[in-house]
């Protein structure tokens, strides 16, 4: 029992010192931390949003919309490919059930059509994005190949994540965490954010900008009823000066907003209304110039996320590659649109499916009162230990304090986040640590009552109690691991603290106290002891 080599004592003491040092930065104010030179390890624990305040927003992609977009895109590509391949005429094109189906008018050209379609349906990595099927001699049906859909979604989510990143960064000093979750979700967490409304407005906006010609031959009555002519489509236009909240535009021949190089909020020099200035890239500029040359005098619709925001007349060809979007903007909404356009359009519509925001006051109140409760509670625990076990209670108390420091140190090193459920994990591990010491000390008392000598009693106490301590902790480890694997956010926060805490609490409550007890026994060789 007394055999406790010196090198082990040194090692344990070094470990205690290291964890105390690593735990300190988490308690220092930020300014102090920044003043410390960078070679000193100064990782801190992150406080979860529920404690520190901030916003957690979960976005989900509209998969159906993505599929529709893909299909629409496919149709455009097919038409282009057919035109280029010796003008193969196609007809009766329908999009339904996620499939595109059309007929080749001249059935002798079906092989040429197949050839021309090959590059259209090929996937990025050698496979196929679409499966081709021939029926009735001249009908071609393109159905999505499973992998193509998955890759498309995955790519869309990746680039959506980048877009969101750019948009939030444009807001300034926030420190957001943006993570993809599952196949179709993105988590955005912004600590310390006071008002998430503006943020949601910004990241929820798809910002798909399009310019399309207004169909001026459409029958206004039909348009009001929502019926479009062939080649046209009806789009909502809430601010339409005619009073009808809808307008007919030509489906093809427009320009999309991904040909932009920049956009800024500005003011119209004549009316002094807030507007958004946009600049096209070379290709977009040329196309815009061509469109405005060809259709001078006609109206074109500026469409944002499927809604027409204004439909000005083309007074003269715009050749400089830049333009101005006016609508009923406020300075704020024009600024937001500029940011959204600058960061690019979201490749897929994102919907807020979960939001959790905690105001800084509530968070601060939670921390303050949690801290008070923690201090009073710990004092209570230590008091019980001291009153009941005397010297052994002192050892147990020190072990407990070091246990807390070690958990904090490990969490800081791992950059883990402490949440409210994490505090529950803390309570559980501290309970386990206290229990370990109670088990040991009660056992020592029992052994003394049976008349064993001091050293023998201590040795038996540690040995016999270890079994129950071991079993209890293993069960906790099993529970923690399973919770981590199967649980969601908050439950995982609990599991992480529990996993760390079990290891440290066994170490402090058993190994450390044993070292101290052995040290005392060696030094004093007591014949009797107070426990």
């Amino acid at each position: 029992m007394l055999d406790f080599p010196r090198w082990r004592v040194w090692m344990l003491n070094a470990l205690i010192l290291a964890s105390l040092l690593l735990a300190i930065p988490s308690f220092l104010p930020k300014a102090t931390l920044e003043a410390i030179p960078s070679f000193v390890p100064k990782e801190t624990i992150n406080l979860g949003l529920d404690l520190a305040g901030g916003s957690h927003i979960l976005l989900e992609a509209d998969k159906a919309q993505l599929e529709r977009d893909r299909l629409e895109n496919l149709e455009d590509n097919v038409r282009n490919a057919m035109r280029r391949a010796d003008r193969i005429a196609i007809g009766d094109a329908t999009r339904s059930g996620g499939k595109l189906s059309f007929t080749v008018t001249d059935s002798s050209k079906i092989d040429a059509a197949r050839k021309a379609l090959e590059p259209v349906i090929a996937g990025a990595s050698g496979g196929r994005d679409w499966n081709m099927e021939f029926t009735d001699g001249n009908r071609i049906t393109l159905a999505p190949a499973g992998s193509g859909q998955v890759t498309a979604l995955s790519q869309a989510m990746d680039s959506a994540k980048d877009v969101i990143d750019r948009r939030i960064n444009a807001l300034g000093t926030l420190e957001p965490t943006i993570i993809r979750q599952g196949e179709d979700r993105i988590v955005v967490q912004v600590p310390g954010l006071q008002n998430p409304e503006a943020l949601k407005e910004l990241i929820g906006k798809t910002a798909k900008l399009e310019f399309k010609l207004v169909d001026d031959e459409a029958d206004p009555d039909e348009t009001a009823k929502g019926k479009a002519r062939v080649g046209s489509q009806i789009l909502p236009y809430p601010d339409n000066p005619t009073g009808i909240p809808q307008i007919a535009v030509r489906r093809l021949g427009g320009i999309s907003g991904d040909k932009l190089t920049g956009s800024q909020q500005s003011f119209d020099p004549k009316t002094n209304e807030p507007v958004v200035n946009i600049q096209f890239d070379t290709e977009g500029g040329q196309r815009f110039a061509r469109m405005t040359q060809q259709y001078t005098g006609k109206m074109f619709a500026i469409i944002l996320d499927g809604k027409v925001i204004s439909a000005p007349q083309i007074k003269e060809p715009i050749l400089g590659g830049s333009s101005q979007i006016s609508g009923s903007f406020t300075v704020e909404s024009a600024g937001q649109l500029a940011i959204a356009l600058n960061s690019g359009a979201l490749p897929v519509d994102l919907k807020v499916v979960e939001e959790r925001s905690v105001g800084p006051d509530l968070g601060a109140d939670s921390i303050r009162r949690g801290l008070i409760a923690a201090i009073v509670g710990t004092a209570g625990v230590l008091m019980w230990m001291l009153l009941t076990y005397g010297r052994f209670g002192v050892y147990a108390s020190f072990a407990l304090v070091i246990n807390v420091a070690m958990i904090l140190a490990v969490m800081a090193l791992a950059n883990a986040t402490l949440t409210l459920p994490g505090i529950a994990g803390f309570v559980l591990t501290i309970g386990a640590a206290v229990d370990a010491n109670v088990l040991i000390n009660e056992r020592i008392r029992e052994e003394r009552r049976k008349g064993r000598r001091v050293i023998q009693a201590v040795e038996n106490g540690y040995k016999e109690a270890s079994r129950a301590i071991f079993d209890a902790n293993i069960t906790n480890v099993i529970a923690a691991v399973l919770l981590f694997i199967f649980g969601s956010g908050p439950i995982r926060g609990f599991a992480v603290v529990l996993m760390i805490g079990i290891v440290t609490s066994v170490f402090t409550a058993v190994t450390l106290t044993r070292m101290w007890v052995v040290g005392w026994l060696k030094k004093n060789r007591p014949q009797d002891m107070h426990i």
């Binding site: 409304e197 939001e355 006051d361 409210l420 529950a424 129950a468 209890a472 694997i485 649980g487």
Partner: protein, 326 residues
């Protein structure tokens, strides 16, 4: 200095003779809990049923204008809000279930939140929005099933371990104690209608942890005593084991209850329900280890010498091993 002894030496309380009465009480309480859960159910938070909850503080006002709020928020057409105080008089939470059609449009929960916040801010310019939780139906059902699954997986994993370390009767006894403790805690939540959310699941997990810890300590002692006293009658052996570990049970429970009581009294309001649940669970956990887990062994027919290897069987096994048949 005289040290404190919560349980005097050589305490010998005949716990086990009350086992049938205790079991009867437990059954009544369990049935009452199940009945409550079936009829009143749990007051699920937005985590589990979706919808939205905002926490508001009416700065500069003594009390929150609950009636006004009810009408103003109600006038938005999403239904009747549930308005509850949390913390001080001027702090209330406004809860609203998922609006109609939310299953088709998952973003509706959030749109509703935005409208409610706008309305409250418009009517009460000085209000402070302290917290927003808005969860769509799909996400909430995922959270619910994931939480439940994690809970069950953890409980089963632990039972398996106890089964391996002890004997199967012990494993089932531990599971029974676990079911007992969690059901009663759920019953408490149903009775008080405290909000049941993800944080509560963490509290339940803590209770499970303690309950198992307690059970294991007593089981360990029972196993030890079974080796020592092969001739002792089972009830007496259980009594001995419980009494031997009694001072530990009392000491540990008291020590852990201390910070929890502090949390209930002074802790943050957001974790009030959480702290109450844990304090209750620890109390129930200690009781169930003594009165459910231990007597269960008797009901399962465990005898003091049940697990002593039969020498003949053991010898036969050794022979088989020697002959290379295993």
């Amino acid at each position: 200095m005289k040290l404190l002894k919560l349980v005097p030496d050589d305490t010998n309380i005949g716990f086990i003779k009350w086992r049938n009465i205790a079991f009867g009480i437990s059954i009544v309480l369990l049935l009452a809990s199940i009945l409550l859960l079936a009829t009143r159910g749990l007051n699920y938070g937005v985590d589990f049923i979706g919808g939205q909850m905002i926490r508001t503080t009416f700065v500069d006002e003594k009390a929150a204008p609950v009636q006004e709020l009810r009408e103003q928020v109600g006038s938005l057409g999403f239904g009747e809000p549930t308005i509850q105080r949390f913390g001080a008089e001027n702090q209330v939470s406004i809860r609203m279930k998922l609006p109609d059609g939310a299953d088709k449009k998952p973003e509706l929960a959030n749109i509703m939140t935005q409208k409610i916040i706008a309305k409250v801010k418009e009517e009460h310019p000085k209000v402070r929005i302290d917290g927003v939780d808005s969860v769509s139906g799909k996400v909430s059902s995922e959270l619910f099933s994931k939480g439940l699954f994690a809970l069950i997986a953890a409980a089963l994993g632990v039972a398996m371990y106890i089964w391996i370390r002890f004997e199967w009767q012990f494993g089932i006894g531990a599971i029974w104690a676990l079911i007992h403790d969690t059901t009663l805690t759920l019953g408490l939540f149903s009775l008080t209608q405290m909000e049941f959310d993800l944080n509560t699941i963490a509290a339940m997990l803590t209770i499970i942890g303690y309950s198992l810890n307690d059970t294991i300590v007593i089981y360990d002692r029972i196993r030890e005593n079974m080796m020592k006293y092969r001739k002792m009658a089972m009830p007496a052996l259980l009594d001995l084991s419980v009494n031997e570990t009694l001072s530990r049970t009392v000491m540990t429970s008291l020590t852990i209850l201390t910070p929890l009581v502090v949390l209930v009294l002074f802790g943050p309001d957001v974790i009030f329900g959480f702290s109450v649940a844990m304090a209750f669970g620890i109390f129930v956990g200690s009781y169930s280890s003594v009165y459910q887990a231990a007597p269960f062994l008797i009901w399962f027919g465990v005898k003091s010498d049940s697990f002593v290897p039969d020498e003949k069987v053991a010898d036969a096994k050794v022979e088989r091993i020697i002959e290379g048949k295993v």
